[in-house]
């Protein structure tokens, strides 16, 4: 199975490769099946698959793709699946990646719904979810750490580094104390970028 897509550069898009269809399906199946705990929980699994395991994107590209994905509406997992699939293998890739990420769980929702009535109070199911949640929190914290480097740049960037660090702190504060919404924070950040980093 060809896994020679070590450098997914941004210059020539899309990288056509029918050999990637299989790996795309497998990777996005995993994303769809193991992203427990809401929208943000797709990120750690996505990153582990796309950056660590497959090297389809490097750390900077992944942050950028995720950044774009989070500024647009819609379920982030399937959106990113479609984009990465498209970039790696054109429209067939987009279709396969998108489908793999949503179809299994969609089918499960429909087929298992009748079982839910029987198993909703089942302590094992509850136990499973209770055990998964701390892991998800840890996964998200780990992703925050991994995003720091591409987001902040190098310390040697000097004031830019400091400005970005301060930006993170300010945004977290605004979000926590004033409850400023994600959309606004992104707009403010973009404006700050325009002013500071041009």
């Amino acid at each position: 199975m060809p896994e020679d897509t070590g450098d997914a550069q941004t210059e020539d898009l899309p990288l056509r490769g029918s050999g990637l269809i299989g790996p795309l399906a497998v990777s996005f199946l995993r994303v769809g099946l193991f992203a427990f705990g809401g929208g943000a929980s797709v990120i750690p699994v996505l990153r582990a698959e796309l950056v660590d395991r497959r090297s389809w994107l490097n750390a900077e590209e992944f942050l950028d793709v995720y950044t774009l994905g989070s500024t647009l509406p819609g379920p982030v997992g399937s959106n990113l699946a479609a984009y990465v699939g498209w970039r790696l293998a054109g429209w067939p890739g987009a279709l396969v990646a998108f489908g793999s990420s949503v179809l299994p769980v969609a089918a499960a929702m429909i087929l298992l719904a009748t079982l839910y009535a029987t198993y909703r109070e089942n302590p094992l199911v509850e136990g499973f979810l209770t055990g998964v949640r701390p892991v998800v929190v840890a996964m998200l914290a780990a992703v925050v750490w991994e995003f720091m480097k591409p987001a902040l740049g190098r310390v040697s960037d000097g004031w830019r580094f400091a400005a970005k660090a301060i930006l993170i702190v300010v945004m977290v504060t605004l979000g926590l104390s004033l409850g400023v919404g994600a959309a606004w924070l992104i707009i403010i950040g973009g404006a700050a970028g325009l002013v500071l980093f041009r």
């Binding site: 379920p75 929702m109 041009r198």
Partner: protein, 161 residues
């Protein structure tokens, strides 16, 4: 997004009652993947069988996926543009901040609010710290950790019974 779905499905279309919706939502939360696609599939099926499920799923997920392909494609093509680059440089830290906020929001529901809660949930805290170390230091993939965490959770549930 769940609120939007509620407005559309319960209030506007009357396809489900609030109670039915809450049941589906609770069940949906037990499964992986974002809630929107799960709700869409089930409600679509409930209203119009398999074609309904496909239509609902397509409606909620396809347009925005195409939009991202369009926008990201444009962005990548104009990557060298100074203005776009500057904006993205400012947005990247915000994305990190948003994730910090997500972790923060998860903290109390998962581990509890007070030190007394945290003590009672010591096994969950240990699980989280262990996972963090395995992820960052030992580069363990999230998937086996999820399975392990779930297994530990089931074990504790069995022991408590």
């Amino acid at each position: 997004m769940v609120l939007l779905i509620q407005d559309e499905v319960i209030t506007l279309r009357g396809w489900l009652s609030m109670e039915e919706f809450l049941d589906v939502y609770a069940f949906g939360n037990a499964l992986p993947s974002p809630i929107a696609t799960k709700l869409a599939s089930f409600i679509g099926f409930h209203v119009s069988g398999w074609p309904g499920a496909v239509a609902a799923l397509a409606g909620v997920a396809v347009p925005t996926a195409l939009l991202l392909i369009l926008v990201a494609g444009l962005f990548m093509r104009h990557r060298k543009n100074r203005v776009i680059n500057a904006i993205i440089e400012g947005v990247r830290p915000v994305v990190v901040a948003l994730l910090v906020l997500v972790v923060w929001d998860f903290f109390a529901p998962v581990f509890g609010l007070t030190p007394a809660d945290w003590l009672g949930n010591w096994h969950l805290i240990v699980l989280a710290v262990l996972s963090l170390v395995l992820l960052l230091r030992f580069r363990v993939h999230p998937v086996p950790l999820i399975i392990a965490g779930g297994a530990v959770g089931m074990l504790f549930a069995l022991l408590a019974a």
